[in-house]
């Protein structure tokens, strides 16, 4: 099974560990990832300013992936939501499709809509499957309580996202529990992390993040687990700023799902870039139970 991997613009610099852990986990599970160097911005950050620019950027990536005849895989909810949205839009609005393809033709590209935008959680759950992952798990976490954070665009709008039930999703929880950890209930589970406003309205952004962190902590979580670049930046790098600015003691480190799963699959912490996280997650390895002798 092969995919073209869309690396989110944020990962090469501030989230290297997301790239490393994704590569390692996918390799372990037998998924081939193809890098297409021409791939660009997913279009998400452009939408506030120019609808046209945002559609064009997304469609170009889809067209590049279609050229390889492979689905386009992303590790970011915002990339995923944007791609699904534009893919839908181009299918339902012929005039937009024509406009976009006319522009793309300048660099010899065209998008017909023959491939799909995929999220890493979707591939893990639907294409590989819980049972197949379970077979590859070599060590499980014991007593680890995870606040699973879905993020917005993988769930909503559900007509576009098409991943899970929008009000009572369970797929990510199941994926977390494959590792032996317990995915806890918490009331703000499906709320936004606050990242979209970081840099625009920092106070509001921090309010929303703080609210979620406090709720997860009070619900008994040891760690947050996410599968989105923006959510991770918010819960990791911005949490560090939050802790220093607002002085709340409620520190709750966030682990990327490929890091969590990777540990269960027996991949070492260095390959998964555990030390790269700003709010330390190194202690999570203490929860690992019965390491199998190889």
């Amino acid at each position: 099974m092969n995919f073209v991997l869309l690396r989110c613009c944020t990962t090469p610099i501030v989230l290297k560990q997301y790239e490393w852990s994704t590569n390692a986990v996918m390799e372990k599970l037998g998924i081939g990832l193809l890098d297409v160097p021409e791939l660009g911005c997913c279009g998400y950050p452009l939408r506030n300013i120019s609808f046209k620019a945002h559609v064009l950027a997304t469609a170009r990536n889809l067209a590049l992936s279609e050229k390889e005849n492979l689905d386009l895989l992303t590790v970011c909810n915002c990339c995923y939501g944007t791609m699904k949205y534009v893919d839908n839009l181009m299918k339902e609005d012929a005039s937009i499709r024509n406009d976009v393809n006319t522009t793309l033709a300048k660099e010899g590209l065209r998008y017909e809509g023959d491939i799909k935008a995929r999220h890493i959680l979707q591939v893990l759950y639907e294409d590989i499957g819980i049972e197949a992952i379970k077979e590859k798990v070599v060590q499980t976490f014991d007593g680890l309580k995870i606040a699973t954070h879905y993020g917005c665009r993988i769930l909503r709008p559900s007509k576009v996202a098409q991943f899970d039930k929008p009000y009572s999703p369970s797929k990510f929880d199941e994926l977390v529990e494959v590792t032996g950890a317990k995915s806890i209930d918490w009331s703000t589970k499906l709320e936004c992390c606050g990242s979209p406003l970081w840099g625009i309205n920092n106070e509001l952004s921090l309010d929303l993040t703080e609210n979620k962190l406090r709720d997860a902590k009070q619900s008994g979580a040891d760690y947050l687990c996410v599968a989105c670049s923006y959510c991770q930046i918010q819960f990791d790098i911005v949490q560090k700023i939050l802790l220093s600015q607002r002085g709340i003691g409620a520190k709750l480190p966030s682990i990327l799902y490929p890091q969590l799963l990777g540990l269960s699959l027996g991949i070492d912490g260095k390959t998964l870039g555990l030390a790269e996280n700003q709010v330390s997650i190194s202690e999570i390895e203490w929860f690992l139970l019965h390491k199998q002798a190889s």
Binding site: L46, I49, C152, G194, S195, W198, G199
Partner: protein
């Protein structure tokens, strides 16, 4: 005489240009870093930094970079073989030709006492180096004008450089060609070097040169009998062979001589070789004088940028030196366009048509800015928009063959521009994430100002933000907006809204405030309702648009299938478009 005068004039311009250019590296400032450090201190910091580097293990890094990136240009090879081949041809062809041929009296004669430009290996090598440059120019023209790589833009600077180089090369080869066939040149040489020869000997020599050396004579014509040629060869070996290899070795000039042979006598009478000689050296001198101001300046600055960047790092190096390096980097850009071709948001140029979006086109704008060129509000806003339309993915920096830290440059200039007080709407997009992350390390005390300025520019005048106790005008503002919104599939849905307030209740931003209207202006359901009534000014004055997360809770919960979040996104676009129009109107006034 004319040659000497023009040489010295062009050398003087070159020298002064060089001094002027280098002085700007220390005199100008770019961005917020080190702008309070006076030039003398910048020079001192440079000398100190240079000395410390040269006498440290980092000299090994410099050597490594010099070999790999300057001499072998591995970075370019890794990206694009054709481009690497082009550049290697030009780089080595030009350097070797300059040393061996252009500076022959200084370099080659000193190394080889028996040097004559007309003997081998010099004759052959001159042609070889020349043809390398021609091949390089050919690939350059092919890449820029035939291959037409998307978003690889050609500026007048690029064309000038190709033209000057092409004139030098073509005139040089034609000069060689006409000299081979020239009868008067032959006669001049005979006069100078065959003092004791009698007339018969000269006749056979001429026959020999016509037969073997490509001279076109009005007197003698081929074919010649073997006896004549033998006698001619004898005379040739007596007087000429020491300084003349066979012209076939000068394969380019010789080919041109063969092609122009039918017109050779005419050309000779018109004194073509001396005209070509003037063209050739004048083109060289113009190139020399223009060099510090042209893209060819990169033959000095690009290696310097590569070397400087290999041993410097923000946070570790003296900020004064970083500032100096950033100015050097502006001159190190040779407008190769690699950054623009690979830029992750380069494609946006096709939608927004602001050339400053492309990294390679930002450089001239930044140059104009640091040189203190007077720019009007619109020009500043265009540059500002280009600089902000960047995801900070560092790709341009990674791919730049000149090793320029482009991303650092953009961020630095971006911040100084924001201080100029022109509104930038991109600060209201998630592209601001990076600025938010950098806030702590930069201690930006004016941090919220650009955000507030953008909001104030967007808010229509005459509509108070805190309007809960006032009556808003219920007349649709007649600016034709409704038709804009109706064009998109999603936006048509707002008319289905019956104000049930579900969207507002689902909104995490609204829930964050005890009295949300105070903070966000209108609530989501009010905005949908206002959109249904065409009350655009009211909508644009609402901060809710810019506090919307795009989390889609509203849209998911809507019982009427109104695409609330999608509509909010579209309203943001409209608000910015009307704000831009306002700014343009202000300028017109």
């Amino acid at each position: 005489m004319f040659f000497t005068i023009t040489l010295y004039i062009s050398l003087a311009i070159f020298g002064l240009g060089l001094i002027y250019k280098v002085s700007t590296w220390f005199r100008y400032t770019v961005g917020v870093d080190a702008r309070d450090v006076p030039p003398p201190q910048r020079v001192l910091a440079f000398v100190k930094g240079l000395t410390l580097t040269l006498f440290s293990p980092r000299i090994l890094t410099l050597l490594k970079v010099f070999v790999l990136d300057v001499l072998l240009q591995i970075k370019v090879l890794q990206q694009d073989f054709l481009k690497w081949a082009m550049h290697m041809c030009m780089y080595y062809g030009f350097t070797l030709l300059l040393l061996m041929h252009g500076l022959d009296k200084i370099v080659t004669s000193a190394l080889f006492p028996n040097y004559y430009p007309t003997v081998n290996p010099f004759l052959f090598l001159r042609n070889l180096f020349g043809i390398l440059i021609i091949v390089g120019i050919g690939i350059a023209i092919y890449r820029r004008f035939i291959l037409r790589v998307a978003r690889l833009r050609t500026s007048p600077m690029d064309v000038y450089a190709i033209i000057i180089l092409a004139i030098i090369m073509i005139s040089g080869f034609l000069l060689e060609g006409t000299k081979i066939t020239s009868y008067s040149k032959f006669q001049d040489m005979v006069e100078e070097y065959t003092i004791q020869a009698d007339e018969e000997e000269l006749r056979t020599l001429e026959a020999y040169w016509v037969a073997k050396y490509g001279v076109v004579s009005p007197e003698v014509k081929a074919p010649f009998d073997a006896e004549t040629l033998e006698a001619g060869q004898e005379a040739h070996e007596m007087s000429c062979v020491e300084c003349h290899s066979r012209p076939q070795w000068g394969f380019t000039g010789y080919t041109l001589a063969k092609i122009t042979k039918p017109a050779a006598l005419l050309l000779d009478r018109a004194n073509a070789s001396s005209i070509l000689w003037y063209i050739h050296f004048l083109a060289c001198f113009i190139g020399l004088a223009y060099l510090p101001f042209s893209k060819m300046f990169h033959i000095f600055t690009t290696p310097l940028s590569l070397l400087a960047n290999s041993v410097m790092e923000k946070g570790r190096s003296d900020p004064a030196n970083i500032a100096t390096r950033q100015l050097l980097e502006l001159d190190a850009c040779m407008h190769c366009g690699t950054c623009s071709v690979q830029c992750r948001v380069g494609v946006v140029f096709e939608a927004m048509h602001n050339a400053n979006i492309l990294p390679s086109e930002k450089i001239p704008s930044v140059k104009a800015l640091v040189a203190g060129k007077k720019l009007n509000g619109e020009e500043i806003r265009n540059i500002q928009e280009g600089l902000h339309l960047c995801t900070n993915c560092f790709r341009c920096t990674v791919v730049c063959p000149a090793g320029i830290n482009l991303q650092e440059l953009w961020f630095n200039v971006r911040e100084t521009l924001l201080e100029k007080g022109e509104p930038e709407f991109l600060v209201l997009s998630p592209l601001s994430l990076y600025r938010g992350l950098m806030k702590e390390s930069l201690e930006l005390n004016y941090y919220p100002d650009p955000i507030n300025l953008a909001l104030e520019t967007i808010y229509p005048t005459g509509i108070p933000l805190e309007m809960q106790d006032r009556t808003a005008p219920l007349v649709p503002s007649a600016n034709g907006w409704s038709s804009t919104l109706h064009t998109s599939v999603q936006a048509k849905t707002f008319s289905q809204c019956f104000s049930c307030v579900t969207c507002t209740n689902a909104c995490p931003v609204v829930r964050n405030y005890p009295n949300p209207i105070e903070f966000v202006g209108m609530l989501p359901h009010q905005i949908m309702h206002a959109a249904g009534m065409g009350l655009w000014d009211l909508i644009f004055s609402s901060k809710m648009l810019w506090d919307c997360l795009g989390c889609y809770q509203c849209q998911e919960h809507c019982p009427q299938s109104v695409r609330v979040a999608d509509v909010l996104y579209e309203l943001k676009n409209m608000a910015i478009t009307q704000a831009r129009k306002k700014l343009v109107k202000q300028i017109e006034r």
